[in-house]
Symmetry: C2
Subunit: 372 residues, 2 copies
């Protein structure tokens, strides 16, 4: 089910949130509702916990939504887009113009994320967090799904200094927070994160290496497909960026500002919004999980609200997920981004909820239980 919501309504949301208030307002998931949900699962007419992960998913949704009737029909994918100064170092196999061109493809409905989102019944919203071109939603086919909230026209090249200023990093997070909050307030029950930005596996690898403490040779991967020489160059770029900027891994905002990206900040902010407002959020792959790491560095409790949609083929993703103690729902060798892994996993999340709500109990079905 998709949500009828106008671009203007989302853009109009102007509440002032302060980062400190957001972080201090996030509460752990309710363990009493988790316990009640486990009791309900135990009554379903099947051997104990025979649907494995589906039970864990539905129970956590009960805890998050504080109900035994969790609802995930109304879904939205927020595709956060940004450009990256570090592409000047030759870290991507694609030209930078592709960021803007792909946004047009998202708006026209012709990309992978559109196809999968239509199938699972999720709305796709594209947020210009800081791409280089100036897009005019009013002049574009499908522009009613584009939210222009640029922090700046691309980040700076982080091998030469910070990717962005500290106020820009905070602005990126608050922009993501505000956008997601508007969607949640309008009835979105299940949020998914996505990304677009040529070069963005490079800052994501830097964020992942710093925040998880993982070696670069296990964190920097081939992205959209650089060759072996490109991979060595990319590792070197990440190493130099970290050495030059010395991000403080205890300070998520500092890491985002030194070696991150605007879309990574937007994703972090949307995760904070889901956690503060008590809604589940399915994260996509490598870039989304870099955003989750930033959110987690700011407030570890956000992990209670996170579902890892899939494990990406991108080298460092598994290490990121392990650090966050997230078990991915799918593992299909995907590495597209856009939110495709999050959207696809929403089908499993919805199936889990339906089983939880629809399956009869042993008593209702009149079926004998396990023999004593």
């Amino acid at each position: 089910m998709t949500v009828s919501m106008k671009r203007e309504e989302i853009m109009a949301a102007k509440e002032n949130f302060k980062l400190e208030e957001i972080l201090s307002g996030i509460r752990p998931v309710d363990s009493q509702w988790l316990e009640k949900a486990r009791e309900r699962t135990a009554q379903l007419v099947m051997p104990a916990r025979a649907l494995g992960r589906l039970h864990e998913i539905s129970e956590r949704l009960c805890g998050i939504q504080k109900t035994l009737r969790p609802a995930v029909q109304r879904k939205a994918i927020l595709v956060m887009a940004g450009d990256h100064g570090v592409v000047a170092e030759g870290v991507s196999a694609y030209p930078q113009e592709v960021t803007g061109a792909m946004i047009q493809t998202f708006l026209s409905g012709g990309a992978g994320i559109n196809s999968i989102s239509r199938y699972v019944g999720a709305d796709v919203w594209v947020v210009d967090m800081g791409i280089i071109p100036e897009l005019d939603p009013a002049a574009m086919d499908g522009g009613e799904r584009l939210l222009v909230r640029k922090v700046a026209r691309g980040t700076a090249n982080f091998v030469q200094g910070p990717a962005m200023s500290r106020p820009e990093a905070e602005q990126a997070i608050l922009t993501g927070f505000r956008t997601a909050t508007a969607l949640l307030r309008q009835g979105v029950e299940l949020l998914g994160t996505g990304d677009m930005g040529i070069g963005n596996t490079t800052p994501s690898a830097a964020v992942g290496a710093v925040l998880t403490g993982t070696d670069l040779d296990r964190m920097v991967g081939k992205g959209t497909g650089v060759d072996n020489e490109g991979l060595r160059r990319k590792q070197d770029v990440v190493r130099r960026g970290i050495q030059r900027n010395r991000p403080d891994r205890k300070d998520g905002l500092d890491v985002l500002c030194k070696v991150g990206g605007f879309e990574i900040g937007g994703i972090a902010g949307s995760i904070l919004a889901a956690a503060l407002h008590g809604r589940p959020v399915v994260i996509d792959g490598f870039i989304s999980t870099a955003g989750a790491l930033v959110a987690h560095a700011l407030c570890p409790t956000v992990a209670d609200y996170l579902f890892a949609g899939h494990c990406s083929e991108e080298l460092g993703h598994r290490a990121m997920l392990q650090y966050l103690q997230l078990d991915p729902i799918l593992d299909l060798g995907m590495r597209l981004g856009e939110g495709t892994g999050a959207a696809l996993a929403m089908s499993i999340v919805e199936a889990a909820v339906r089983v939880f709500k629809e399956v009869l109990t042993f008593e209702e079905a009149g079926v004998a239980g396990k023999e004593a």
Copy 2:
């Protein structure tokens, strides 16, 4: 999308198929269509093969259906049910009456398979391949979805002799074949297999051990939840059954007859039907894969048409899948059977097809490709 089809029409299908003719009629998947499908994937507006397994799935469907417009909207799950004489040995945690009671639950729509099938848009058909009770579809709520095609009222206890006669084994396979053929002729585009039968992990483990050559301590698992003592007893029962009957692993029919079950034969037959008629079939977990092993022993080419819905939590399932060289789509710690893993995986299969058919090419999207 579900298929409007009457029970009477399926029951009325009386064509005479001979097993030898079926086996000799099955052809490998068309490699030219596979190649054409790969060419189409390469044009999609995303990095090369960035959706991993989704591409493999959609391309194989193109090969199976001999088209670049594969269709999987019309789906059906065939839940094959049977009872097992070997439960007299104390191999199950549940009483035998549960087989019939669960069939009533399937027909009423209240079981796990119903919930997941509704979500993915699959019809559920229950086939009484040989349960002990005599159910009257006309007198049952939801009976229009029950096909009574009993081979016998439960198998014999295979620790004392063959589970069934060789003609019964052949009848089980041909019954599964005929039932699936009727569904496919009426327009089902994607078939899923499922099972119900208290005790049926025991014959499935025996079939798996014989046909894959796997040790019993890696093939016999806890089923619906026997304790450690029950597990030792179950291993002993399987060992004695194999020793007593000496099934010939080169002869799938002999293995089915000596240590199998009627629903396992029905599943094998439905897989042969999909392969002969050139349609894809998603298999569920441990019992369905035992059926697939029987079909594969009769005709190895069936593997071309098989999709492994998931990897079950049941101990020996991974070894079975490895033997068949099938990579499971999902791995969610499920072990319910009924067809739940097959039905859930259908959502991934459909998403794969939609991506293949809907996503624009680089040219259509006007997006620049990889830099030279």
